[in-house]
Amino acid sequence: MMLAASASTGWFLENAFLIPLIPAIGFAIIIGFGRRLPKGGSEVGIASMALSLAIAIGATVQWIQRVGSVDEGSGEHALGGVFGFARSVFPTATEGGHGGEAYVEPVIRSWTWWQSGSLEFGLGQHIDGLAVMLLLLVAFISLLVQIFSTEYVAGDRRYTHFFAALTLFSAGMLVMVLAENMIQLILGWEIMGLCSFMLIGHWWEEEANSRAALKAFFTVRVGDMGLLVGTAVIFFGANQWAVENGSNGFSIQAISGWAMSGEASTSVLFWGAVALFIACIGKSGQFPLHIWLPDAMAGPTPVSSLLHSSTMVVAGVFLVARLYPVFYTGFDIGGTNVNLIAVIGAITIVIAAALAFVQNDIKKVLAYSTVSQLGYMMLGLGVGAWLPAVFHIFTHAFFKCCLFLAAGSISHSGSHHSFDMKKDMGGLWRKMPITAGSWMISTAALCGVPFFSGFFSKDEIIDNAHNNGYTFFYYVGLVGAAMTAAYMTRATYLTFFGTARGAAAGEHHDEHDAHDTAAHHDDHDADHGAHGADHHDDHHGAHAGPHESPWRITAPLVILAALAIGSGYLNAPAVGTHYFTDWVEPRGAAVELDGYASDEGHSEALGLAALPRAEEGYSEGCGYTDPSPGTVCYAPKLNHAEFSWGKAAPSIILVAFGIGISAWLSLGVFGGRRNPFVGLTRRFAPARWIHTLLVRKYFLDDLYERVIVRSVAHPISKAAYWVNQNILDGVVNGVGKSGRSAGDWVYRNVDQRVVDGAVKASGVVASESGHALQPIQSGRVNQYGALLFGAATVGAILLILLNI
């Protein structure tokens, strides 16, 4: 079947697999030779990220061209690109719909990694709008964070290892983002898990840090079981369908097509989706496994920044977005108004936002804020607002990265390595205008102030929740928005306004032990030994008081702050832009299956005209009706809420309300102005209880560590000890004793009598026979000759006799 290829492609798209490969090679170089390089390996890390970013930019440009070419081509006829790749199985045609609705085929390449029976495990790339967006984002943020780090961790004793782990971490995320199949996705996922462990525990000399690293690793691991189970469930569900269509049950595209085909078993989809979502709960810090995320603040600030903006925590959101057909049909997102994803997302939004109110550590406020925003993304995916959720990943990455880097900048130059807002900050905006400015912009974006990027993404999620009938979650989203605005206002006030306290006032306090250790996990003091005396002095010399950070810290801040405003306009319905929707959203249009036309002869007649056409109202189409024979859907057709200022008004008002209330309270509680709420927790018991509940993080840590770990792990360890002492040791001792007596018996009987006897006997025999034969050895040549010929004669006679 001849199809004209209308979807354009290009070198960058086809070689996008280089994007994770370059940092992976960079990692190998850093770990191998980094210490010998003049800048300790950081130049390799930065160069590899820059190269990746360049390719990612090229791929983005070509992807945009590809989308454009499909949209132009689809007006004429249904067309699709045919790619002669290793396994170019899938679709070769796109629906002939109106512009902007035709399916844009992803650029898929695959190489066999290993083979087991008829199963091929591939490595490859699956480049579509989502992958391109995240590749660009991850490469960009990683580059900025690495530049920031060259200043922030300068002089660290494990400087080289830090950059090695950072580079591998980015590589892991990139591998996951362009994963062609589930195995590759798991590979990237696990690389990230490992690297997050190494980076959070970077300063492992302090016990709190290594405990935080372990906590992060094990908590995420609990969820990771779900990933393995879910992958297996989906594989066994999808494999038959996928093999019939020339792929296998690990291929992400095949899984998507299977989930949308209507042939998939509902219960398999449901349980597969549940298992996969458990993995997302662990990785993306959703309730109830969010507990690792704030503790992960023990890592160096650049790590927190990278972890919490574009990598690691969005991996879970990405997994849901990537396998959205599975979740969409598994949880019937289009048909209900409550489901697991939305519920977990909603709970996470509220509880994390509440926790952020009682934190004194600036990074912990940001950590809970991240958890809460991840809740928004999950909520968005749960209510069918795929695009706003993914757009929120995009905008959130910029402003959250900026906020973390600003926090790092404050601790680096403003508060003498402390992160305690109440003790060591306040009034910093005069001293650090650039940091303060970028913080304010990012905070405004995070709160969802109109015309900042967060407004365009978060408000769309809330609006779509309402539009799709998830009314309850609409209200949760609104409450969350108000809470976000309030806690960020509190943090901003404590950090930049009011009176300067502690280190921010220029006080030198070298008795860092006096601090609450939990308040400054990230303290460089743990590392001062490695800084070397001169660096330490230099540091103090420069530390006459708070001052602005050097350019390697402020440059990333300014760039990110600009993006915290600008990135929102890629998809700002308020000003009528929808580039992001066009480029990133997989279109829910049916695609003609390759080779199906020859099946029963009904080719063109059925192929295109009978395809469900998406009209206003979307009563039919992918996700609503099963695809007609010979076609396949790779994405559900999703509704988009129409933007209007009227619908946005409630959230704007609530955000303003949150900011106002919080500013008033902050002035009262921290600024000394009197108002009725000052001292409320002392006077009013329920308020005190709530405060305690929040400070103790809902007692979840206690639940996990005291109850679950103790009730499960301690009896197990006790029982194991008892078994060890009594049964295993008994067995071992018994085996030892019987072995010893058996050895004795063998020594006495076998060794001494049989073996030694044989050895001695052979010696005696040899000696005696030698004596007996001695006379023959006379030394006379004639006699030897006689013997020789005699023997020859005897031999000859025997020969003759026997022959005859």
Binding site: Q774, Q777, G779, R780, V781, N782, G785, A786, F789
Partner: protein, 99 residues
């Protein structure tokens, strides 16, 4: 012409050689007896080669002659050394190698 004549000659020469090796005391005579044995073998080889009309027996005989020449060379050198040391080449006096 019968091959038996040649074989008979070879057998006679062989027997004389064996007698010489066993009975003579003089080392040079023993060496000469060995030559007799070898040549008896050569006669046999050539006789069989003629009988079977093949060249292999001839070639093999040539080898035997070459090896015999080398053997005599080494043997005579040893005899010479023994004579120089002991002023005698009587083999029955040489029994230092007795075990």
């Amino acid at each position: 012409m019968y091959a038996a004549n040649f074989l008979l000659l070879g057998a006679v020469l062989f027997s004389i050689g064996v007698f010489g090796v066993i009975a003579r005391r003089n080392a040079v005579m023993v060496l000469m007896s060995i030559e007799l044995i070898l040549n008896a073998v050569n006669i046999n080889l050539i006789a069989f080669a003629l009988m079977n009309d093949s060249a292999e027996g001839h070639v093999f005989a040539l080898y035997v002659i070459a090896v015999a020449a080398a053997e005599v060379g080494v043997g005579l050198a040893m005899v010479l050394m023994i004579y120089r040391n002991r002023r005698s080449i009587a083999l029955d006096e040489l029994s230092e190698m007795r075990g």
